[in-house]
């Protein structure tokens, strides 16, 4: 019987964007069991809802996470609008879709860069982040902030994008597509990348479904769940293509995210074609009374905002269940049986965004 030793991984590790701790039980160089541990950046956001009015809580909800911030704000606003039965103008819905898809682009490009850094390909990491600057420049020109956009509010959006800016954006998307095609070609075709990713961290379709894998982590194993198919916002008027892969290893998860870059640019083009003229907000009076589970698709998977109001200006409860919280049990399953040197690559392949997991 070989001796088992316990090696701590994290919370400080060069490959992790945010702190998570794993206790790896090793036999020689093979991982036998994993105990995850979170709670390093718990800020107690959900308690703050009792002291901030529901219209001001948008600012708090947006700042839950730096990478996926726009969709947190938009989902919170949509949840409140569902409870209060507010119909948001069509132009605002399309604008929210455009900013959400740009947010998804920036998040996937950030992840592709970090992933390349994790298996040692620094040149590719820098190249991907150079392309990501184009997305952030667009965000800053239209919203005022590179990372925290801050344009959602209950009842619509706070800023507008003019028609000629939208035309220029569609032309710039062609350049962006061209650059992303060159870079994703390296991820998907290059042999040295394939050697690091193929058959590493495999999880079967049944395991992924029953353990709660959502987003690209689940879609890389064939679990075809995409919350955009629910049809919230303007997504019921757009054609959403769900990308899946069947192998369930790190290469499939990477391939799913790389292909989703192009579905996002396609959705932005569709939205820019269909966007109508009109107002961008409606006046909101009163307070929410009721509850709703608002589900949306973040870059990492299915996000659930549970909101409960009782008629006063302060909500009773705001519960945010982020996709990474749901992806931690599949991560435990993926790590069992892998080599120690593959652990950073596998942990990064679920796209851990721990700051929104712990709020």
């Amino acid at each position: 019987m070989t001796k088992q030793i316990v090696v701590p991984f994290g919370p400080q590790h060069p490959v992790l964007p945010e702190p998570i701790h794993l206790d790896l039980v090793l036999e020689d160089e093979r991982v036998v069991d994993v105990v995850p541990s979170i709670g390093y950046i718990h800020r107690g956001f959900e308690k703050l809802v009792e002291r901030r009015e529901y219209t001001e809580y948008v600012y708090v909800a947006e700042r839950t996470c730096g990478i996926c911030s726009y969709i947190h704000g938009a989902t919170y606003c949509q949840g409140i609008e569902q409870i209060m039965n507010i119909q948001v103008p069509e132009r605002a819905e399309y604008l929210r879709v455009i900013w959400s898809e740009f947010s998804r682009l920036h998040s996937h490009l950030l992840w592709l860069g970090l992933f390349a850094d994790a298996f040692g390909f620094e040149n590719l990491f820098m190249g991907v982040w150079k392309t990501r600057e184009r997305v952030l420049d667009f965000m800053e020109e239209t919203t005022g902030g590179r990372i925290i956009q801050g344009t959602s509010k209950v009842g619509g959006v706070r800023r507008d994008i003019s028609g000629e800016r939208l035309d220029r954006m569609v032309k710039d998307l062609d350049i962006l597509d061209q650059e992303m095609k060159e870079l994703t070609n390296v991820f998907l075709q290059d042999d040295s990348v394939r050697h690091r990713l193929r058959n590493v961290g495999t999880i079967s379709r049944d395991d992924a479904y029953h353990l709660g894998a959502v987003g690209p982590t689940g879609r890389g194993s064939g679990v075809a769940i995409d919350a955009r198919k629910l049809g919230y916002g303007a997504y019921d008027r757009l054609n959403v293509h769900v990308v899946t892969d069947s192998c369930g290893d790190c290469y499939s998860r990477c391939a799913v995210r790389a292909k989703e870059l192009f579905t996002s640019t396609d959705l932005i083009r569709q939205a820019a074609r269909k966007i109508p003229d009109g107002p961008i907000e409606v006046k909101v009076t009163g307070a929410p009374d009721g509850e709703y589970f608002m589900r949306a698709e973040q870059p990492r998977g299915e996000l659930v905002h549970y909101l409960k109001g009782n008629g006063s200006k302060f909500l009773v409860r705001s519960r945010i269940r982020t996709p990474t919280l749901s992806n931690i049990p599949p991560l435990v399953k993926m790590l069992q049986g892998c080599e120690l040197a593959d652990v950073p690559v596998i942990v990064l392949s679920i796209d851990p965004c721990i700051s929104c997991t712990e709020r």
Partner: protein, 125 residues
């Protein structure tokens, strides 16, 4: 556009395991387990989803009721049940991975079941 209305089925704590087992046999996946403090009672929502159909089971308990764990049927429930215990103080019996209160280490024990405290600028912590 208006999304479909969501229905919530409130059941007794004793019937929780039976209700969850029905969802497991039909192939639903667990979306989340969430807790809300309403007055003196705690409402716990168990959310399930199958092919974008959303179902919600709710139990309403007092602070000292012991809730059975559903991790026998859904292995990933441990992360939600430990979070519920650390933040609200709900006692859950039979978790598959029990962190015993160390998942979220907070300065105040069971912070979300305490009433909110107002701190004005200039107060020393």
């Amino acid at each position: 556009m208006t999304l479909p209305q969501q229905t919530t089925t409130t059941i007794d704590v004793g019937k929780l395991i039976g209700g969850v087992e029905r969802f497991r046999n039909e192939g639903y996946r667990l979306v989340q387990i969430g807790c809300t403090k309403v007055g003196e009672l705690y409402e716990i929502n168990y959310c399930f989803d199958l092919d974008y159909r959303f179902e919600n089971l709710r139990i309403s308990i007092t602070a000292d009721t012991e809730v059975p764990s559903i991790s026998g049927m859904y292995w990933n429930a441990f992360i939600y049940e430990n979070e519920m215990h650390d933040l609200f103080g709900i006692q859950v019996r039979g978790m598959n991975i029990d962190f015993k209160g160390t998942l979220f280490k907070t300065a105040v024990r069971y912070p979300f079941s305490q009433p909110p405290v107002t701190v004005t600028k200039g107060d020393k912590p």
